[in-house]
């Protein structure tokens, strides 16, 4: 029906930015539009949060183990083996945990949202919802973006805890440190300024994952290959946004807390 309109790349880029800004405002407008879809929101929290827990748990555990195994020889060389719990906790809570867990969530959640909404577009389900007079943004977009914004920080906290526990097991095999001593050292090393900024940035990571997934799905072309393109593009763009947000967050945090 509609022919692909060829336009210069720069014009397409600006049009794309304009579309994203428009989509962002539509999302905010619809949060407060009334008739919030609670049941769909809860279902999305379950799909996004609970269904990602196993993946986040396993990868966080492995990361904790790997970090201890990698850090130990260097710290032992400098006679600082006792610093291992502290080094792990600060690096994991501040940076490695939130970023890696967000990247895993981008791979799992952004791609699944992009593919789901993309296939709804291809099969005219989005058009059907819109034409019926229902609010597709409120039902599909608001619920998914809010669910990722809430569930990614929760997954990140759970992943941090599991990662630190993995670190304990790896350390205990070599140095037979007690559980109590290990976690005393881990908690003593952490400050409010380690946890809070990291937690806040995971909220933005979650928003970016949900937003990019929904935008890519909603704006996919009609055609089966567009579903794959939407899913792939959602992962790549969300991952990129996670690093951009992280870079900004690190600058703000260091200006505020680590002068």
């Amino acid at each position: 029906m509609a022919e692909e309109v060829t336009m210069p790349a720069w014009k397409r880029w600006f049009e794309n930015i304009g579309d994203q800004v428009g989509f962002f405002f539509k999302f905010f407008k619809n949060i407060f539009a009334g008739g919030f879809e609670w049941s769909e929101f809860v279902r999305q929290c379950y799909e996004i949060g609970y269904r990602s827990m196993m993946l986040v748990g396993i990868t966080s555990f492995i990361m904790g183990v790997v970090l201890i195994v990698q850090l130990r020889p260097t710290l032992v060389t400098f006679g600082a083996a006792s610093m291992l719990p502290k080094t792990l906790s600060v690096s994991f809570i501040r940076e490695i945990g939130p970023v890696i867990i967000a990247i895993i969530c981008a791979g799992k959640i952004a791609s699944s949202i992009g593919a789901e909404l993309g296939s709804m577009k291809v099969t005219e389900q989005l058009d059907a919802m819109e034409v019926s007079g229902a609010n597709s943004i409120q039902y599909l977009v608001v619920t998914r973006i809010l669910a990722t914004t809430i569930m990614v920080p929760i997954l990140s906290v759970i992943g941090d805890a599991i990662g630190l526990f993995g670190g304990f097991l790896a350390l205990n095999i070599r140095d037979s440190i007690s559980f109590q001593l290990y976690f005393t050292k881990v908690i003593a090393a952490l400050d409010f300024t380690d946890f809070l900024p990291a937690f806040i940035k995971t909220i933005f990571f979650g928003f970016a994952i949900g937003f990019v997934g929904c935008y890519k799905g909603f704006h996919s072309n009609k055609g089966t290959e567009s579903v794959g393109i939407a899913a792939n593009s959602a992962v790549v763009t969300a991952s990129l946004w996670i690093f951009v947000i992280d870079a900004i967050a690190v600058q703000i945090t260091s200006l505020l807390f680590y002068k």
């Binding site: 029906m1 509609a2 022919e3 692909e4 309109v5 060829t6 008739g35 789901e116 296939s119 709804m120 099969t123 005219e124 389900q125 058009d127 059907a128 919802m129 819109e130 034409v131 019926s132 007079g133 229902a134 609010n135 039902y139």
Partner: protein, 262 residues
């Protein structure tokens, strides 16, 4: 061709003094350099079924998408119930869409929901019904009218093509729209199921007094369901009249649609 148009126009049996529910004048729509709709003029009266015939890519679907505000026309006027669609804000467009049912070619069932949930969706989200008994009653009545009550708790992936179309039709009629736009309702179906769908379209028109625009390539569907047939070519209508009038036409293009009809 113009002569044909006038000739068939004179014979046309459009209901007199009946309310016009859709009035399209000089509708134009282009995509890039391709001018899909050049000059579309159409009037749909209350209780009337119009079938639009035309080759693929001539802009039939674009026309009905302009009626529901999915596409903005480049020129001309599309009035539904006397109101200009292009000038409507989001709220007005939403109210209009409640009065217009749209059956998509694929049925467009929401595939994460059962058939029951698909039908409940417009009731709870659009009509804002809350009474469980009322919702169940309307869902069962709509499914019964398309002969699909047995499939109420099935997922769309478990349904055949014809069942999906019927479920889509049930979801369209459940809100009791005044106008229904059918986008190729029988495409991809076997002749028996196609006939069932065409009969359903006719029975919905009679029971619910709906006005419809039916886009199809299925001449049997056109014969069964149409009060008036319009033939589209190169972005405009080239002929209109009743099925029998156009069947007898000597025009080459018009005749090509009816050559296999006895």
């Amino acid at each position: 061709m113009e002569a044909e148009k006038e000739k068939t126009g004179q014979k046309q049996q459009a209901p007199k003094k009946q309310e016009v529910v859709i009035a399209i004048k000089g509708l134009k729509k282009s995509f890039g350099t391709k001018h899909v709709l050049k000059n579309i003029n159409l009037q749909l009266h209350r209780g009337e079924n119009i079938v639009i015939l035309g080759r693929s890519g001539t802009g039939k679907s674009v026309t009905i998408q302009c009626i529901v505000g999915m596409l903005k026309p480049d020129g001309g006027s599309v009035k539904v119930f006397g109101d200009e669609v292009a000038e409507m804000d989001d709220k007005e467009l939403k109210s209009l869409r409640i009065k217009i049912g749209f059956l998509f070619q694929s049925g467009a069932l929401y595939d994460s929901m059962t058939v029951r949930e698909n039908l409940e969706f417009p009731l709870t989200r659009v009509l804002k019904l809350k009474d469980r008994a009322e919702i169940d009653k309307r869902v069962e009545a709509a499914l019964d009218s398309v002969g699909l009550l047995d499939a109420i708790d099935k997922m769309p992936s478990d349904l055949s093509g014809g069942m999906r179309k019927r479920a889509g039709l049930a979801r369209t009629i459940i809100v009791e729209p005044e106008i229904i736009l059918y986008d190729e309702p029988t495409t991809g179906l076997d002749p028996i199921t196609s006939r069932e769908i065409s009969d359903l379209i006719l029975s919905i028109q009679k029971k619910q007094k709906t006005s419809s625009i039916i886009i199809t390539h299925d001449m049997e569907c056109a014969r069964i369901a149409s009060d008036r047939v319009m033939i589209m070519d190169d972005g405009e209508y080239i002929a209109e009249g009743s099925f029998d009038e156009l069947h007898k036409s000597k025009d080459k293009i018009v005749g090509s649609y009816f050559k296999d009809i006895l």
